[in-house]
């Protein structure tokens, strides 16, 4: 691993040099909530001033840039009773992600496991993922962040460079030669021992700020044991079955496919839309049978996939602990409380 350190003003230079030749996606403020707090989102940026590097968690993850809510898997030309299929992976150019937090980088690493590195890799994801240049940035833990419990408070890989704010300077970790070459465009130096000390102190300070927690010891086993537990029913009574938790989740990848005929009958398309296992018809089959007709069975399934099934397959959870689902859920259903209740705690 190669480390460098540079003056804060250099980051603007780096941004401008990169923005001159590439499309950049970064955190921006899209409005204020009722308490006047900024609401952040990932968007295309061309002006360094509009990027908010001290942002708290965005409401929505950067998912739409690699797993769009909706995309055509294929299109058909219909002619004289026959068809021709065209496949397009819907990736046109590389994108620079300027300022992803560790949790969101880890989310990508988890998605890679299932969408890139297991059987039948997904070309639609691969085409976008292989064209992402990622600049990670450190964050200030919020009250709802439990990434530390999920082991995703720091990122080991899945980015090109990762910058940490040391007050007067940025400390940068370089993983790829592309990043190394990009950094030649600005003034950087070799960090000294005092910088290392400062880095470790900064990291230690950050660690103290984590408050939310999830106890993951033996979780896969406990979820199996408590499959019939009453608490699921209680959470199910609150659940609105609206699918918001999946939509704001940086790792939810489930989807549905629909084929449609164009109204002029000359074409057709096969469209993939991200779906949510909490929606009523997620497990409904042709003919009408529904394998999970009750809200609590669907909510439970989501936790099983995240905290048991994925663990079984990849020895890690599919949850990064970003806390977005709990923050967005109007019914206040959140991972720390659900897991605690399955472990025998009381529901508020």
């Amino acid at each position: 691993m190669i480390f460098r350190i540079f003056e804060k003003k250099e980051l603007r230079s780096l941004f401008e040099i990169l923005a001159a030749h590439n499309k950049i996606v970064g955190p921006v403020e899209i409005g204020r909530d009722k308490d006047k707090n900024p609401v952040y989102a990932f968007a295309e940026v061309s002006d360094f001033n509009s990027i908010k590097l001290n942002y708290t968690t965005t409401k929505l993850p950067a998912k739409r840039y690699f797993l769009p809510f909706q995309e055509d898997l294929s299109t058909f030309r219909i002619e004289a009773g026959n068809w021709q299929k065209t496949i397009d992976y819907n990736a046109k150019e590389p994108l620079i992600f300027f300022g992803l937090h560790a949790c969101d980088i880890n989310a990508l690493n988890k998605l890679d496991k299932v969408l890139l590195h297991s059987v039948y890799p997904t070309p639609y994801y691969a085409a976008k993922r292989k064209n992402m240049f990622i600049i990670g940035i450190d964050c200030v833990p919020q009250s709802f962040c439990f990434c530390r419990s999920m082991g995703s408070d720091t990122a080991l890989h899945g980015f090109d460079m990762f910058i940490t704010d040391l007050g007067a300077k940025y400390f940068v970790e370089i993983l790829t030669d592309t990043a190394y070459n990009f950094l030649k465009n600005i003034k950087t130096e070799e960090p000294k021992e005092k910088d290392h000390v400062l880095y470790m102190k900064t990291a230690a300070e950050r660690n103290k700020k984590f408050t939310a927690q999830v106890e993951t010891t033996d979780l896969a086993k406990i979820l199996d044991m408590e499959f019939q537990a009453d608490v699921w029913k209680q959470w199910g009574d609150k659940c609105l079955a609206c699918g918001t938790c999946s939509n704001v989740c940086p790792t939810c990848y489930c989807y549905g496919v629909e084929e449609t005929v164009n109204i002029d009958l000359k074409g057709a398309r096969k469209t993939k839309s991200l779906y949510s296992c909490n929606l009523i018809d997620f497990a409904e089959v042709a003919g009408g049978h529904n394998f999970r007709p009750e809200r609590h069975t669907r909510l439970k399934y989501r936790y099983y996939h995240k905290h048991r099934g994925f663990v079984e397959a990849f020895e890690e959870s599919l949850c990064v602990g970003c806390g977005r689902c709990g923050q967005s859920c109007l019914a206040g259903i959140n991972v720390p409380e659900v897991i605690a209740s399955v472990r025998g705690g009381k529901i508020k």
Partner: protein, 259 residues
């Protein structure tokens, strides 16, 4: 406007079913029918899939020979009941189109008043008309299919007609508006301190109102498995008054049966 007799259409070698359709309006603003003729880019393709025999907003000829009747509006007068029953008799498939036809729509708000004479006087002044309790179409005759929304979404109707032609089933979303709202990357109305029925209202509108930073009023009625009880509790906890909540739930009449 008159629909020409086009040559028989096929899709992948299978002949399409080209039904005779008729459009009728009852107590309503006729905005739903207006939606249908709005989208000019697809209008001709749309009209080639069906044979329109009755459509007051777009043509002058009339016929009672139709298979599918699209009915817009709520039923408020005695003569409307008779007309509707006749349409039901003629049609093989009766489609309630829009919130008024499906639930009574905004019109049914007047059902809350006990003193109808007072209402009439407030609304019509010196020119009163015969108008009684507002009913949804299904409260008068059986309905085969519902197209939700105030107004309806043209794309949805096009899809329904295309599916009828192809023999595909008609799948109206069962989940709530939140799905579409999140896909449209809106800030949640509750974060902005606004009430919204998105979490319990049937999707399909592409979160039309929230896209414009206006909370959902539930014009498409409840989603399947809508958790109305808990939603009311949430809204109360968020500081909205009972009156604000009930105003929204009552507005289009869609939640009458579930709340």
């Amino acid at each position: 406007m008159k629909t020409k007799e086009p040559e028989a259409k096929t899709y992948l070698g299978v002949p399409l079913y080209r039904p005779k359709v008729a459009f009728f309006e009852f107590s309503s603003c006729e905005g739903c029918q207006l939606q249908l003729v709005n989208n000019e880019s697809t209008l001709l393709d749309f009209l080639s899939l069906v044979e329109v025999v009755n459509f007051r907003e777009a043509m002058t000829e009339k016929s009672d020979d139709y298979t599918i009747a699209f009915v817009e509006g709520s039923i408020t007068r005695g003569d409307e009941v008779e007309r509707l029953k006749k349409i039901r008799k003629n049609a093989k498939i009766l489609v309630a189109m829009g919130s008024c036809a499906c639930f009574g729509g905004v019109n049914q708000l007047k059902n809350r008043f006990k003193n109808f004479d007072w209402v009439k006087k407030q609304v019509y002044g010196k020119h009163p008309i015969d108008s009684g309790l507002v009913r949804a179409v299904e409260d008068v005759v059986p309905v085969d299919l519902r197209i939700y929304g105030c107004p309806i979404k043209k794309e949805e109707v096009e899809k329904i007609v295309l599916h009828v032609a192809l023999g595909k089933s008609i799948d109206i979303p069962k989940h709530p508006v939140c799905m579409e709202c999140k896909a449209n990357e809106n800030i949640c109305l509750f974060d902005l301190g606004e009430p919204c029925l998105g979490p319990i209202t049937r999707a399909g509108c592409d979160s039309w109102c929230p896209n414009n930073r206006a909370g959902c009023w539930g014009c498409r009625g409840p989603a399947e498995d809508a958790n109305v009880e808990y939603m009311k509790k949430i809204m109360k906890e968020k500081g909205f008054s009972e009156q604000t909540i009930m105003e929204r739930l009552d507005c289009f009449g869609g939640f009458k049966k579930v709340k």
